[in-house]
């Protein structure tokens, strides 16, 4: 079964029809999706700018990461859940849409950066200036922020690309 056939089969399922045809489900789900994005943006902004060395530099990276990482994961869980509801409801809008797949690729990248660069920092003995990858922290923080911005742009662009 190719992607288009899968999309058509999913579209025809009762759950997909239910999501699509029950008034208010899609706008409500999208609104919750955007609120979770706001949580990611706030968390990523403060954490990445701290790691980039431009904001809250009087607080340790550990303090800032510890404050925002749980919110980041909670928001990502909400994003995956609401995103899945939106895909099931309107598979024709996303599964054959190149912008959607670009967004998914960027999400995986942002996810990997969050995972790989934040957990070591949480370790009590960790000192960022002594880490082997200390020189990578600042550029990676900027890349992480830019990737999240690109995710948001792609997200809105899904509506126009098909």
């Amino acid at each position: 079964m190719n992607l288009l056939e899968f999309s058509k089969a999913l579209y025809a399922t009762p759950i997909s029809t239910g999501i699509r045809e029950t008034a208010g489900i899609i706008p409500t789900t999208q609104s919750i999706h955007i609120l979770a994005i706001a949580v990611v943006v706030g968390s990523a902004l403060v954490t990445d700018l701290r790691l980039a060395g431009v904001l809250e530099t009087d607080e340790t990276p550990q303090t800032v990461v510890r404050r925002y990482l749980p919110w980041m994961w909670a928001a990502i869980a909400v994003l995956l859940t609401t995103g899945t509801i939106l895909i099931v409801g309107e598979p024709n809008r996303v599964l054959a849409n190149p912008v959607f797949w670009a967004k998914m690729l960027l999400v995986v990248l942002a996810f990997a950066l969050t995972l790989l660069f934040r957990y070591p920092i949480l370790h009590p003995q960790f000192q960022i200036e002594h880490a082997r990858w200390a020189g990578l922290v600042k550029p990676t923080a900027w890349v992480s922020l830019l990737v999240w911005i690109a995710v948001i742009f792609c997200g809105r662009w899904i509506a126009y690309a098909i």
Partner: protein
């Protein structure tokens, strides 16, 4: 000039026509609007949660507010500019749209809520800067701000489904 002829002149303006008729302009401006709106709500939520009583990444509420407010204001200014541009492209219909009117009203309420906070509890912040939980008035200001901004996001997204 009446209200409706003003809205029509926005619609007919060069800017309004360009955004409506160009294939890339509306989505580009809208994406920027979403990015700025999420920055506004994300940074406000950090401050509001601290006002409600959640410990933040720094203990003092005053310094947290001072550190984040420039981001909130810069993003709000850009959200207002991009929002106005989107409005111009279809002014009469946005003005007649229920969720749009509700969003504008809720924005005004959020502004009033913020003004009251800055004129009252914020003036005495040295007394509760490090207090967790903060005094009741501060917690109420934080909770009402967060609620209003969540409602604004809902109305904002709803406009896209109801505007003619």
């Amino acid at each position: 000039m009446t209200g409706s002829s003003f809205l029509q002149s926005l619609y007919d303006s060069a800017v309004g026509s360009a955004i409506r008729e160009g294939s890339m302009l509306f989505p580009s401006i809208e994406s920027l609007h979403v990015l700025m709106a999420t920055t506004v709500v994300g940074t406000i939520a950090i401050v509001d949660l601290r006002l409600i009583g959640f410990a933040s990444h720094r203990s003092g509420a005053r310094q947290l507010i001072l550190d984040l407010l420039p981001f909130t204001w810069a993003a709000f200014a850009l959200a207002a500019v991009t929002g106005s541009l989107l409005f111009t492209s279809n002014a009469p219909n946005y003005a007649a749209d229920g969720p749009f009117q509700a969003k504008m009203l809720t924005l005004v309420l959020a502004g009033i809520n913020m003004a009251i906070f800055h004129l009252t509890a914020y003036k005495r912040i040295s007394q509760w800067d490090d207090a967790l939980p903060p005094p009741r008035g501060v917690r109420i200001a934080g909770a009402s701000s967060l609620t209003l901004w969540i409602v604004i996001v809902f109305f904002g997204r709803w406009i896209g489904f109801t505007v003619q």
